[in-house]
Symmetry: C2
Subunit: 503 residues, 2 copies
C-alpha cells in the first residue's frame, strides 16, 4: 500500500472511531431516556441530546471529510473490503445529510421535539387536530429534504433507502400485492373457524417468576448474559452499545403471560444479531446490524418462526410449568400454541398477530407513498386511514387515537420505516427456508438445540454487521434474491395446519 492510501485509511479509521464514539453516546442517551432517566430531567437531557447531535453533524459534514471521501473515491479499487465498506457507509451518511442546509437541519430537529409532544397530547386527547399542523410541517419538510437530496424513480424511494438500502416503490408494490392476494383470503378462511381458547393467558402471573422465565429463555436462545442485560421499559426495545453490550428490555404485566414472553424472545432475536457481529470489525460504525429489515427478520424469526412453533415448547414448556404450576395446570402445548397464534383482525398494529400484521403495514405504506407523491389535504388523513383499514384489515377505527394517531413514528419524522417491519417477516421466512436445506429447524427446536440454529444465523447473517448490503446478505445466505413467496407459503402452511384449513 502506498503512503498516500495509508494516510487516507488512517483518516478514515479516525473518522470511523469518532463517529462510533458519538453514536455510542447517542445510543446511551436514548437507552437511558427509556429506562432510568427521570421524568423531570427532560429539559437538561434535551440540551445534551441536541449537543451530541450537533457534534455528529459537525464531525461528519465539513470540508476535511468532503475531501477525504473524494480522495478515497479515486483509489476505491485499491482498498481492502473493510475499508471499502467504511467508505460506502460514510459516503451514504454524508450524501444523506450534507445536501440539507444547516439551518433547515437544526429547525427540523426542533420541529421533531415539538411534533412528538403534540402527538402525545393529541393521542391522549383523541384529537387529531392538535397534531395535524405539526404533521403537515413534518411532511412538508420531509418532501423538501427529498428535493435537496434527489431521488431515483419515486420520491419515496429516498426515504425507503434510509432504512432498507436498495428497496424501491416498484419492489414494494409487488411485495404488498402478493401479500394481499394470499393473506386477505387466508384471514377470511380463518375467521370462519372456531376461535382458540385464550382465557388462561390472563390469569395472574407473578412478575418475579415472569422475569425468571425471561432470563431463562434469553440464555436458552444463546444470549451471552455478560455481553448485555435485560431491563424493563414502557415499550420493549433493543439497544446495542457494542456487540459486547447489548441491552434488551421488556415490559411485564401481572395479567399477561404472553406478551412479555414473546417480547423477550423478539428482542433477544435483535440482541443475538448484535452480539454475533464479527470482532474483526472492531470499534466501528459498521459493528451493528445493517438495516431495519434484516434486524426485524432476526427478531421475527425468533419470535414467530421459532417461538410460536409447537416444537419450541416441547423443550421449554417444562420450565414454564415449573414456574407457573397452578396457573398452567391442564394446559397442553397444543392449547398454548393455538392461543399464542390466534388470528383476529384488529385495530392496533403492535397488538396484531403474525398473519394480519402485514396488512397494517400496507395501510401505512400506501399512505406514505401517497403523501410523498401528491398534495394530500392533511384533514383527510383520518378518513383515508379508516377507509384503508376497513378495506385491507377488515375493521374500521371509530376514534382517532386507535386510528391515525396510534403510532409515534410520523411525529418523529420516521417515514419510510414501516415497510421494513413487513420485509423483516418475509426475510425471516426466506432465511428459514434456506436453513431447512441444511438442518431440521423443528428437530433443533424440539431438543432445545438453539446453538445449531444460532450458529447458522451468525455465520450467514450476523457476523457481517454492516459490511455488506441487505441484498448481499439475502443472496449469500439463501442463494437467491429476495422472494416474498416464502413468506406467503409459510403463513398458508402454518395456519392451515393450526386452523385445520385445506391448503
Amino acid at each position: 500500500m502506498n503512503d498516500r492510501i495509508k494516510k487516507l485509511l488512517e483518516d478514515l479509521n479516525d473518522l470511523d472511531h469518532d463517529m462510533a464514539a458519538i453514536t455510542y453516546t447517542e445510543s446511551l442517551l436514548g437507552f437511558d431516556s427509556m429506562t432510568t432517566a427521570s421524568k423531570d430531567g427532560v429539559s437538561a437531557r434535551s440540551e445534551v441530546i441536541s449537543f451530541v447531535s450537533t457534534l455528529y453533524f459537525n464531525t461528519l459534514i465539513n470540508p476535511r471529510v468532503d475531501r477525504l471521501l473524494k480522495e478515497l473515491s479515486d483509489v476505491y479499487n485499491e482498498l481492502d473490503d473493510l475499508s471499502k465498506a467504511k467508505y460506502n457507509y460514510f459516503r451514504r451518511e454524508y450524501e444523506k445529510i450534507s445536501p440539507i442546509p444547516v439551518k433547515e437541519y437544526a429547525d427540523y430537529q426542533s420541529l421533531l421535539v415539538e411534533s412528538s409532544n403534540a402527538w402525545e397530547e393529541a393521542k391522549n386527547a383523541n384529537d387529531f387536530s392538535i397534531f395535524a399542523p405539526y404533521l403537515k410541517k413534518v411532511i412538508d419538510t420531509t418532501k423538501r429534504f427529498i428535493d435537496h437530496r434527489g431521488y431515483e424513480g419515486h420520491p419515496y424511494n429516498t426515504l425507503l433507502n434510509d432504512y432498507e438500502p436498495g428497496v424501491t416503490v416498484d419492489m414494494l408494490d409487488g411485495f404488498f400485492e402478493e401479500l394481499k392476494a394470499s393473506i386477505v383470503p387466508l384471514v377470511q378462511r380463518i375467521q370462519e373457524k372456531p376461535k382458540p381458547n385464550t382465557s388462561f393467558l390472563s390469569n395472574t402471573f407473578s412478575i418475579d417468576e415472569q422475569e425468571a422465565f425471561s432470563l431463562y429463555i434469553m440464555e436458552s436462545l444463546g444470549f451471552r448474559m455478560d455481553g448485555g442485560s435485560l431491563s424493563e421499559s414502557e415499550h420493549p426495545f433493543t439497544q446495542n452499545m457494542s456487540p459486547d453490550d447489548v441491552r434488551i428490555t421488556t415490559h411485564f404485566h401481572e395479567n399477561d403471560l404472553i406478551n412479555p414472553i414473546f417480547s423477550t424472545i423478539h428482542e433477544t432475536g435483535h440482541g443475538l444479531y448484535e452480539q454475533n457481529i464479527s470482532k474483526s470489525i472492531g470499534f466501528s460504525c459498521l459493528a451493528t446490524g445493517v438495516s431495519m429489515g434484516i434486524h426485524e427478520s432476526q427478531s421475527r424469526l425468533y419470535e414467530n418462526n421459532f417461538g410460536r412453533n409447537p416444537a419450541f415448547w416441547q423443550a421449554h414448556m417444562p420450565k414454564l410449568k415449573e414456574l407457573f404450576p397452578n396457573e398452567l395446570k391442564d394446559i397442553s402445548i397444543q392449547d398454548f400454541i393455538r392461543a399464542t397464534n390466534k388470528v383476529e383482525p384488529s385495530l392496533i398494529r403492535i397488538d396484531a398477530d403474525e398473519v394480519t400484521y402485514p396488512l397494517h403495514i400496507m395501510v401505512r405504506y400506501e399512505l406514505e407513498k401517497m403523501l410523498m407523491e401528491e398534495d394530500v389535504d392533511i384533514q383527510e388523513l383520518p378518513k383515508l386511514w379508516a377507509d384503508k383499514y376497513e378495506q385491507y384489515v377488515g375493521v374500521r377505527p371509530t376514534t382517532e387515537a386507535e386510528g391515525i394517531l396510534q403510532d409515534v413514528h410520523w411525529s418523529e419524522g420516521l417515514m419510510g420505516y414501516f415497510p421494513s417491519y413487513a420485509l423483516g417477516s418475509a426475510y425471516a421466512a426466506q432465511f428459514e427456508h434456506a436453513m431447512e436445506k441444511e438442518l431440521s429447524v423443528d428437530e433443533c427446536l424440539k431438543h432445545g438445540d438453539m446453538k445449531t440454529l444460532l450458529d447458522w444465523l451468525a455465520h450467514h447473517i450476523h457476523q457481517y454487521g454492516s459490511t455488506i448490503t441487505p441484498s448481499e446478505i439475502i443472496q449469500r445466505a439463501t442463494g437467491e434474491a429476495f422472494n416474498p413467496k416464502y413468506f406467503t407459503d409459510y403463513l398458508v402452511k402454518k395456519y392451515s395446519l393450526l386452523y385445520g384449513l385445506k391448503e
Copy 2:
C-alpha cells in the same frame, strides 16, 4: 452593559453550555458503568470514555478559551455575580489542566486505567507488590503535575484544593490534632463499656421489603421521585445528571438490614443537595454541589446526625416494623439506636462507625502529605500504613488487602480526596449547631417533619450550587468560619449519652 462585555458573556455561556453537556455525558457513562453496562463491554466503553475526556480537554484548553478568560479578567468587576462565578469556575479548571503538557495528560489517563486494573488484581491476590510499581508511577506523575501547576505553602495544598477549595495543610494539621485529642480518649472510654447487642441486625430480611423501605425513606426525607431514581450497584453512590435527574444507588444484602438503610439515607443526603440547587443557575457546570466536603456534610448530616438519632426512629420505626414484624419483634428504638451506633475500632474505612471514621482518614492524610513532601520508598508503605493504624485506630492489619490495598482511590489518582470525608462530618456538626439556633432538630425528627430541616438546608446551602465557595457557604450558613470544635462536641455529647459516660 456594553457590546464587548455582552459578546464575552455570550461566549462564556456557550462554553459553559458545551462543558455542561460534556460533563453530563461523562456522568452518564460513569453511572451506566456502575449499573447497567455489561461486564464484557468494557473495551468499547473505554474507547468512548477516552473520546469524551479528550473532547472535554479540547473544548476547554485552546487559544480561544485562553483569550476569552483573559478578556473577562479585564472586565471582571463589571460582571454580574453568576457570570463572575462562571468565570472563576473555568479559570480554575483551565489553570488546573492547561499547565500539563498534552502528551503527559494523555499518558496519565492511560496509566490510571492500568493502575486501576493492577490495584484490583493486587487486592484480590492480597499482594501489594503487583500494585506498587503503578502506585509509584501515579505518585511520581502527581508530583510532577504539582510542579507544573505550582503550589502555595505545601505541594499537597494543590491536591487538597482540587476537592475542597481553600483547604490547606496548615488547617488540616490543626483539624486532625483536635480530632485526635478528643476521639482517641473517647474511643478508649467507650471500649471499657459493654458492647450493644447487634445480633438481630443479621436476621434474614427480604430484599423486596428492604427496597420498599428505601423508597419510603427517600420520599420521607423529601427526595422528589420524579426528579431522580434509586438503583442497585455494588457500592452505593450518587450521580447527578441535573438537579432534576439525581440518581442514587444502594446495595441490598439479605442478611444485613442496617447498611442498606443507612446507605440509602446517606446517598439521599447527597441527592437532596443536588435536587435543591437553584433553577436560576440553569443548565450549567455550576448547577452541582460545590465541593466534596460540603457534599459529604449533607450525606453525613442525614445519615448520622439525623438518621442515627433516636428521635428520627420515633417517626419511622412503625414503618420498619410494619415491613419486618417478626424480624424486629421485641426490638425497641433504644435497642435499634444502640446497635446502629456501635463504636468499635476496625480495619476497614468504609465499615467504620462515626467515631472512629476520622481516624481512618487521618492515616491516609498523613501518608499522602508525606508522599508529597518526601521521597518515600514505595516498599515501606504497607508498614507505614500498619504502624499508623495501630497508633491511631488501635488495630493493626495483618494482610495487605485489609491494609494499604483497601481503597481504590490512589489507583485512580485521587490523592487529596480523603480529607474531605472527615471535613464533611465536621461541617455537618457545625451546620446542625447553626440550625439549632432557629429550630429544634429533635422535634422535627420526632414528628417526621423533614421538610423544615430540608428547607433550612436548601436555603442556606443547597441553592447555591457552585456559585459560591465552600468557606462562603459555611460563613453564611453558620455566621462563622469553619470550626471543628462543633464536631468533637457533638461526638462527645452523643456517645457519652449512648454509652453512659460522664461528659
